[in-house]
Chain length 177, copies 2
């Protein structure tokens, strides 16, 4: 698995660095390699989604609520669930009683070290306005589960993109149902 | 949406470049920004999955068959379906009669320009050995749909990672079923 060839940092930015190693090139975050992604359904059966402008793709993108974790995720890591709970409140205004790991994996293993852990949030209650930190300009959507795919198609028709992780989250919700 | 601040290339590698723009940093491929991801089920009801070592995460990763497209994906783009068909044969040894778009979106919109298009492959027939190009060392798995989640858990227990896009693909299969 290890070819022993040197790892070279081609560029070191403020947030990301570009690495060359063993014939591969990939990007990694300076401070965090883990991301917590939260599958949260309100007591009324509505999935929480966030929408924000993403410069890399030049469009608004609908995603599951998510936040950076400090280190490589471990599904059993209490700190990851705590970070996920904090991000959920910041982005959506909902607090969760419980966070349960669903799966963890790399969404772009060919070009990034990123590994995302999906967590199911249960026992939701509204505690704040959401919308993210100042300047994040996050729109929160609460969408009835039985209409969510049609709703996503409608948003796409307006030029908004949908992160495929939303559909992975829906898969886990349907398996549980 | 546009802040007009300059786009600066922090590093230009052989495959990727790291860009700084309007306070964001992100990575993009030099030659392609689109990826075709293929949801393919054999006539016997088995999902095609590929497993290969991915240096960015330092592990073997199980993914849906996929290939780079030359340009930003357009689900109506015949060239994308053609590229997807070629990659499916190279990686898995199966040819498809038809490719139908399922969804398209950015899996890591916070750090990459990458947009993936999911295509459903129908009418599969074996035409070759698969395994990718020389040096790619791709293992092909054909997994019965009704056991695939347990199978993935078992592989994870051995240290292999699973790309969350696999679960997005399963969601579309279940919706159709």
């Amino acid at each position: 698995m290890s070819e022993g060839s040197p790892r070279t940092i081609l560029a070191q930015g403020r947030h990301l660095r570009l690495v060359s190693e063993a014939g591969w090139e990939y990007v990694e975050r300076n401070a965090a390699s883990g991301v917590a992604v939260i599958v949260a359904v309100t007591p009324e059966g509505r999935l929480l989604l966030v929408e924000q402008f993403r410069r890399p793709v030049g469009r608004r993108v609908i995603e599951l609520p998510a936040g950076l974790a400090g280190d490589l995720p471990n599904p059993a890591d209490e700190a990851l669930a705590v970070a996920a709970g904090r991000e959920l409140v910041e982005e959506t205004g909902y607090a969760a009683d419980r966070m349960s790991p669903l799966t963890a994996g790399p969404p772009s293993a060919g070009l990034s070290t990123e590994v995302v852990t999906f967590l199911r949030a249960d026992g939701l209650r509204r505690v704040g306005p959401g919308g993210g930190e100042p300047g994040e300009d996050i729109t929160v959507h609460e969408v009835a589960l039985d209409t969510v795919v049609d709703w996503l198609r409608g948003r796409e028709a307006t030029g908004v993109l949908v992160d495929p992780k939303v559909y992975a989250g829906l898969y886990f919700l349907e398996r549980r149902a």
